[in-house]
Subunit: 164 residues, 2 copies
């Protein structure tokens, strides 16, 4: 099987998760985003910031460009929800979320299939020879699974949906 | 070369999700499994049955063997939670969950890499020629993402974990 098809399988899966997650975010008001997904757990807005921070860091990890919003890391990766005062507003985070994903999406679309099987920024050339599965496509696969994990939680914020 | 690599990437991801999900199930008592992941939402036991039913149906879908527990479909796929009286007990479902995943795992381990890129049972030979990405590996990728989605929800049943 050619590399194009392998890449299509993973990039399709990524895109599908992103569309499904955006559908949830778009259906939630800013007030609903301030709710916890379950009592005592993360708020929707924290998960929005967390996902934005993780996707933003995919830009340098995949060798595309520098992080666009490096300040998100301290609030949404290094700290749990409700630990930091004065987090960005919902509308600011929504804009950053769309910006990061659009930037990622443009790079993803234009990366040649063979380049997906080259190493990502967090593995040395030496280690990559021994572990060639630790390539850029594997980063996208891992982040697709990560996105799905949180999408399942965000779904709980939607009213009137009790199934799955 | 890249066929083997992609099979390793996807089967590793599947295994990793399964290990992480089992860690949650194993840490929950039968009583905790009866709790809803969030108010008014699915109970842990429903998600256990749902995941077992979905994984059980992967056996014929991937061309491995017949479903082992076809009766789960009516309760955990065709019906929402709390719609059916007299669902199987937690201990029965735990046993079926492990049985199904062990059976799947043995097949997954022994399937040659190239066979992963052949069609699954739900696509015709004719359609597969036009859409070769709809292969058996893509089923495993899709079910890995599905598992992660529900793992994120099951995590909410664990006490004393407020992050992610």
């Amino acid at each position: 099987m050619n590399n194009e098809l392998l890449v299509k399988m993973v990039t399709d899966s990524w895109r599908k998760q992103l569309i499904a997650t955006n559908k949830i975010f778009d259906s939630l008001s800013d007030e609903e985003l301030m709710q916890e997904v379950a009592p005592g757990r993360n708020r929707g807005i924290y998960l929005l910031g967390h996902l934005t921070a993780v996707h933003d860091r995919m830009l340098p990890l995949l060798g595309f460009e520098e992080s666009k919003y490096p300040d998100l890391k301290a609030v949404f990766l290094d700290s749990p929800d409700k630990a930091v005062d004065g987090i960005p507003s919902a509308s600011e985070l929504r804009q950053q979320w769309h910006d990061v994903n659009e930037t990622l999406s443009n790079h993803i679309k234009s990366l040649p299939a063979d380049d997906w099987f080259t190493r990502h920024a967090n593995i040395s050339q030496e280690d990559f020879i021994k572990e060639p599965h630790r390539n850029r496509l594997n980063v996208l696969l891992d982040r697709t699974v990560h996105l799905s994990n949180h999408r399942g939680q965000l779904l709980l914020l939607k009213k009137g949906i009790s199934r799955h």
